[in-house]
Amino acid sequence: MNRRVRELSERFGIPREVFDRLAAIEDQETVFVSTPEVMEFDAVRPMRRGIRLARIYPYSLKPTTFGMQVLGREATRNVVDVSDEQAKLLINGGALSTDIEADNGFVLIRWQGFVVGVGFYKRPVLKSQIPRFRPVE
């Protein structure tokens, strides 16, 4: 298992089996994850393989919204469950003041059992890290 993937798996308690049939590469400070067939494809060089899982910064690893939406479903740690209104606020780039059982740092925002994206928690403020793709109403 790629060490960056292991780091994410450990922070969020995502079972390692989730990544068992996947492959990961690091390219330009980004971790990509995909099926092994996608990583092994070499007839041409694709501009994108699979999904961006995380950005690598000098002192942190920042999980991506879309990577966590698909691979964070089984997370058991550092996850925040939110209401409809809170989900909309965070998707639209807002922040919440909340006291939750989570370590400071990146957390997963979960609505109705689905990961909607990533937030940054510094007690008591949860700040959205979700890209402002389009407004949600």
Binding site: E37, V38, P46, F66, V70, I91, W111, V115
Partner: protein
């Protein structure tokens, strides 16, 4: 009663071969229903329908994951859409992947993929396994493709930005299935936008057959012997449909056109002649989806199998070609 004014040339061309022509014109002037597809990469059909119960989705009679809405206003602004539980997609556009039937673990080429509705549909059909080589040559359109692949959670997609003909050559003889959803004059979009009718002309139609013929040959080249290809367009013009398939059959006589069927979806046979051109009998096995039959856009679908004895060219390239703008899409646009 017609509320839109159809050009005389449009009426003259299509009244010659479209059955129930008045019903066709009537359907072409009606706005499309909003339709969407449940993305099983993210949730089960039942769970998603539970969340969308307030919209009262109506199932399409021919696809268990396709639904229509009487009022789809604001669908794209719902959380369910943001997290990829659903993909807003015209109903007829869901048909080509269903006819192609990609299987888990296969290698599939989607040669003209943007914005990605069919790539993401096939990804779900393949249960996020194997590989879909999803290509579009346009930098702008490929950005949308990547955005949709991300939102749908497709881990089995390699996005390329190449000329489709070069890509077909590079993966020659290696693909289990190929989708050539060709760029076309998009007459089907008349139901989405009145402006599409304003821009309609025979000259606009004549711009497309050349690239369509190159793409269908490239797609065929990419197939392994015994592999299966779907050629589709969202247009009515025979020059962009039956003529293109006939061109393939003339160049690759071992190509076999098969009848596409989707239980519950009414499809009509392909034409055997157009203007001065006569098409081989096999072209009659192509299928036309007409708007009056299923309340959709018009669509054309040809299901083609590569003969087992077809020459099996070696893949070219071997890493030599590079798709432009590697991982450029989205940079600066996403706050991640």
């Amino acid at each position: 009663m017609l509320t839109r004014k159809f050009p005389l040339a449009f009426v003259e061309r299509y009244s010659r071969f479209i059955p129930d022509f008045d019903a066709f014109l009537d359907a072409m002037q009606r706005p499309l229903r909003r339709t969407f597809r449940v993305n099983t990469l993210k949730a089960t059909r039942e769970r998603t329908l539970d969340l969308l119960a307030d919209l009262k989705p109506e199932p399409l009679p021919w696809y268990e994951l396709g639904f229509s809405l009487s009022d789809g206003e604001g669908l794209g602004k719902r959380i369910e859409h943001f997290i990829g539980l659903i993909y807003v997609q015209e109903a007829a556009s869901m048909a080509p992947p269903l006819v192609l039937r990609p299987q888990p673990g296969e290698r599939v080429l989607d040669i003209a993929a943007a914005p990605g509705s069919k790539t993401t549909e096939m990804s779900a059909m393949m249960q996020n396994t194997g590989i879909i080589i999803s290509n579009d040559p346009s930098p702008t359109r490929v950005r949308g493709l990547i955005g949709n692949v991300d939102r749908a959670g497709c881990l089995n997609v390699a996005v390329c930005r190449m000329d489709g003909v070069s890509l077909g050559r590079a993966v020659a003889g290696t693909c289990d299935r190929v989708l050539v959803d060709a760029p076309c004059s998009s007459e089907g979009t008349i139901r989405k936008s009145a402006q599409a009718l304003d821009h309609w002309s025979v000259a606009a139609i004549e711009r497309f057959p050349s690239i369509q013929k190159r793409l269908i040959l490239a797609g065929y080249l990419a197939l392994r012997p015994g592999g299966v290809m779907v050629y589709s367009t969202c247009t009515v013009a025979p020059e962009e449909n039956e003529s293109v398939v006939a061109h393939l059959l003339a160049r690759q006589p071992e190509a076999e056109v098969q009848e596409a069927t989707l239980p519950g979806l009414v499809m009509r046979p392909g034409l055997r002649e157009w203007g001065r051109e006569s098409f081989p009998e096999a072209v009659g096995r192509c299928r036309r989806i007409l708007p009056q039959d299923n309340d959709t856009e018009p669509f054309f679908i040809a299901l083609i199998r590569k003969g087992d004895s077809s020459p099996h060219p070696s893949p070219l390239g071997g890493g030599g070609e590079r798709s432009e703008g590697e991982e450029a899409a989205g940079r600066g646009r996403w706050r991640e």
